[in-house]
Symmetry: C2
């Protein structure tokens, strides 16, 4: 009792933090910490609410060296569109790592999740993509398709971007936005295969339940980040692609086994159960190899971790220092 809790709305958060190198760096710190050990990150708490066509996920992680830890609630209620409301929502609570006191509540409606997810893509690209990327491809046309390309561009300033989606108009709109925002050439292409063939860096950003990227499309000098799968039924990358790659890297092995591309590969018998993949943090810290040469094929499997949530929420709190943004409640 008797301490201040800062409450910020989505609008205030959008004004306070954006996708930039500092955001990527703090998320990278979280991955490094994950590899070092000492991070406490329980399994995702999940509710599948069939009766109301909704789902709720809760993530958290305590990272040694961070002054705070976050507890993140993500909601997806898929009947909301009919009511004119967004399907996705949620909030983050930031707590003191020393006392457990709640220090901030970020009513972000998923904005910070979008940011930290994109930032993780940039971290993967920084450590796994070839040093030079001229062309980047994206499979998918939604918000993360755009954010992933903007994030990747921070670390690999490509000059050309190819967008593929099942809906050509949406792919064109996505390409137009990326062209304008990044000041590069961006095109919607008619086949996913073309986006992969002509790119050195590809990000898949779909909720696909059947692979959208085939193993035979992999080519020397390609890095693929699959960030769409975050649930048991999802699968973006053909299961045999994982072992065809020179390096297959998880954000967190346990989660990828349960929810990521690894789950599909294990199920298809394309990955051995006792073969533990390398984690992104191990590559960053040099504890395990990632890309070994410009011709390597690398795949990163990102399911989204509570450590990223703690990283982005801590970053926001730091960014607020000295400002009076938000509502302060003395609790």
């Amino acid at each position: 009792m008797g301490h201040d809790i800062r409450v910020l709305t989505e609008a205030e958060l959008r004004a306070a933090v954006r996708l930039d190198p500092a955001t990527v760096d703090v998320v990278e710190r979280a991955f490094t910490a994950l590899a070092k050990g000492g991070v406490i990150m329980p399994p995702i708490m999940s509710m599948d609410l069939e009766a109301v066509n909704g789902e709720v996920d809760v993530k958290t992680a305590f990272i040694p060296g961070f002054d705070h830890f976050a507890l993140k609630v993500s909601t997806g209620f898929f009947g909301n569109a009919k009511l004119g409301l967004p399907s996705l929502g949620g909030l983050m609570v930031l707590l003191s790592a020393q006392t457990g006191a709640v220090v901030a509540v970020f009513l972000d409606n998923g904005y910070l999740t979008d940011l930290r997810t994109a930032a993780a893509g940039a971290v993967a690209a920084r450590h796994l993509a070839p040093a030079t990327v001229d062309t980047a491809g994206v499979i998918g046309t939604g918000l993360q398709a755009r954010l992933q390309m903007k994030a990747a561009h921070l670390v690999r300033p490509f000059t050309r971007c190819l967008v593929w989606g099942r809906d050509r108009d949406k792919a064109q709109a996505c390409a137009d936005e990326l062209s304008l925002d990044l000041g590069i050439e961006a095109l919607a292409v008619p086949e996913a295969e073309q986006a992969v063939a002509e790119s050195q860096l590809v990000v898949t950003t779909t909720p696909a339940r059947e692979p959208v990227l085939r193993a035979e499309w992999l080519h020397p000098g390609l890095h693929v980040t699959a960030m769409g799968s975050d649930a048991e039924a999802k699968n973006e990358i053909a299961p045999e692609a994982l072992r065809h790659a020179d390096a297959y890297i998880c954000d967190r092995v346990d989660q990828c086994r349960a929810l990521g591309e690894l789950r599909s590969a294990l199920e298809a018998g394309q990955w051995k159960n006792d073969d533990r993949p390398v984690e992104l943090g191990e590559v960053i810290s040099g504890a395990a190899p990632g890309r070994r040469g410009s011709d390597d094929i690398t795949i990163a499997d990102l399911t989204g971790t509570g450590a990223q949530d703690t990283a982005i929420a801590s970053h926001v709190f730091g960014a607020l220092e000295g400002s009076d943004t938000g509502t302060v409640i003395r609790a």
Copy 2:
């Protein structure tokens, strides 16, 4: 976006809701719903933070028929006392069961958990204690010792209360408070055995790791509620007591197996793994027997459920209707 979120502090919550029959009734509704099925209640999310002598638990439950569901974060940071801060803390987030939108944040520092835990004790007493309770006993002298007696008194208006604790001064202080608050005779007794022998209703409220209530103390016409154990190492009731009772009742079987008195009984070989105990909600709804006569010995094992959190948070939200308590944030 564009909806109001109400934020309440502990002080505002204390003014808005208290331990009363309405609180007991709404928690009883949650137990009934649990027994009926359709409740989605994932396992507790837990972080044991040895490095900072802290722990974090997250509970939630979606209850059909409730307009909202709660997500509750409880913290225990045991170095706080040295800093002059309370060890326990946390908050509840209330979300719409229809849209998933966050509708309220209760910065309660554990107050609502205290209430719903006490209310569950009253529900157990209402459905399991003998119809007439002259004397109630409590093992433990902390906040829950007091709240459990006050809650039980709402449903079994006993005229005498016996308090036992390892610290005689604390037991006396607890008895003094209960005497004053309930207008009854309340005494600190030198032996736990006496508190049990002379009572028809006993509540154990300790963090004990060795039993504080022995099986041979059970006597005809006794109901015991054990509410202290909520973690793997805790154990208040001698393991053999469970099968000596005429009815042993769980708040939630899965949780009691992992965290309750049932865990110790299973471990000691005093309960068969394939013998599923009855749940409190099944007794309330009449689906399973509880006490069958005034001479029965009954034991309730309460580990604390997310359903209780959803119940109390929904109750608070209802109580706020028409008032302008708290801070409204348009998010």
